[in-house]
Amino acid sequence: MIPGVFTYHRPSSVAEAVAILANHGDEARPLSGGHSLIPMMKLRMAAPEHLVDLGGIAALKGISEDGDTITIGAMTTQHELIGSDLLSAKLPIIRETALMIADPQIRYVGTLGGNVANGDPGNDMPALMQCLDASYVLTGPDGDRQVAARAFYEAAYFTALAPEEILTSIRIPVPAAGHGYAYEKLKRKVGDYATAAAAIVLTMNGGTVGMCSVALTNVADTPLFASEAGDILTGSTLDAATVKRAVAAAEAITQPASDGRGPAEYRTKMAGVMVERALARAAERARS
């Protein structure tokens, strides 16, 4: 399996990369880790005429904290996310999720930016970014703009990213210290996409939920921010009846495909089970 012919570009700055993309429009694709794009090119399901390798742009790497926001460069790899002490302390759900993506070799190369920008509903980071209310910084010929993860995904592989733009960084508001969190992913084997997965971040005040954010992976053609489920849980004591209502609200917004991972009805139910498990684990981890 050999990809079609393309012209290879390796810019050393974002401005240079954007200029190349602007020149070639739809015929150019940025290359980050390549572990989604290169397999598609090998299958000839993607055949960009110009490939713009972002691997030479040092400014796209790294994790930094500025006040109550953590900014992660788009070319930061899953392996680097897993190894980051800052993220382990402030946003441990990122490490938990990254460890469930693909396998060790792929995590050395696969990037956060590629994972969220590609628009593949199977990817895990998009729902997590919606759960965390992250914003994506998109850089184009006219400069930067920010789009909320919750508003970025339009359909499978269709996003708010324009052909001449690059997703350059991800900005995440740091959740309150002592927050509870969990990413629960049902998959058939290591390296598989989720049959269904749920990300939850919450805070507890005494026995009451202060805030709760819920998002779902791979149960529709986009990641799903389950705002109603989060609203139902907020202010509750996580009693069985409320949890049941929230799970039903999360299940109600799913529209999974029937495929090798199971029939649609099953995957919807599994989304509910993932929400319930993530909720239990997040509540257990929260300090009140």
Binding site: V5, L31, G34, I38, P104, V190, G191
Partner: protein, 169 residues
């Protein structure tokens, strides 16, 4: 197809500097096998699942079927051909795979050993679970993994200067 642009690449492979011209679409696995005649890294699934093509690049285990050779420009690479000790004797991992029968058909072995090498660099004393997760990107269809895990435990013990104790079954 001589009109396809040829791009110069330079890399250090198993300690030797190499320089070639490649098409941009040349995958690293094809570059290693066909240009450098390093046929240790294998082409298995070609879809980044099986890990038979695993090589070491700049201190990372990578699947060379899912990288372009141009992306490895200026990189340091080690393949299974570079895993033996400098004096030609078997490395602790190679010895472990031999002693513990960590292979049957041998197809996955170059990838397994290359991956296990990086695992032990990062975690010199892994638990059995950590070994299994550490090699979860490498498929073996013969051994059921039991003896591969033992081989890696053998190598870890040898590198740590401790006695390898095979767990009772």
């Amino acid at each position: 197809m001589s009109d396809i642009e040829q791009i110069p690449v330079t890399m250090t492979v198993n300690g030797k500097k190499v320089q070639r011209f490649v098409e941009a679409r040349t995958l690293l696995i094809h570059f290693l096998r066909e240009e450098l005649n390093l046929t240790g890294p294998h082409i298995g699934c070609e879809t980044s699942h099986c890990g038979a093509c695993t090589v070491e690049m700049n201190g990372m285990s990578v699947k060379s079927c899912t990288l372009f050779a141009v992306q490895a420009n200026a990189a340091e690479l080690t393949t299974i051909e570079g895993m033996a000790n400098a004096d030609g004797t078997l490395s602790a991992l190679q010895e472990g795979f031999r002693q513990m029968h960590g292979l049957q058909c041998g197809f996955c072995t170059p990838g397994m050993i290359t991956r296990a090498h990086r695992l032990l660099q990062e975690n010199p004393n892994p638990t059995e679970d950590e070994i299994r997760m550490g090699i979860s990107g490498n498929l073996c269809r013969c051994t059921g993994y039991q003896n591969i895990v033992k081989a890696i435990q053998y190598a870890a013990a040898k590198l740590n200067g401790t006695e390898f104790q095979e767990a009772a079954e």
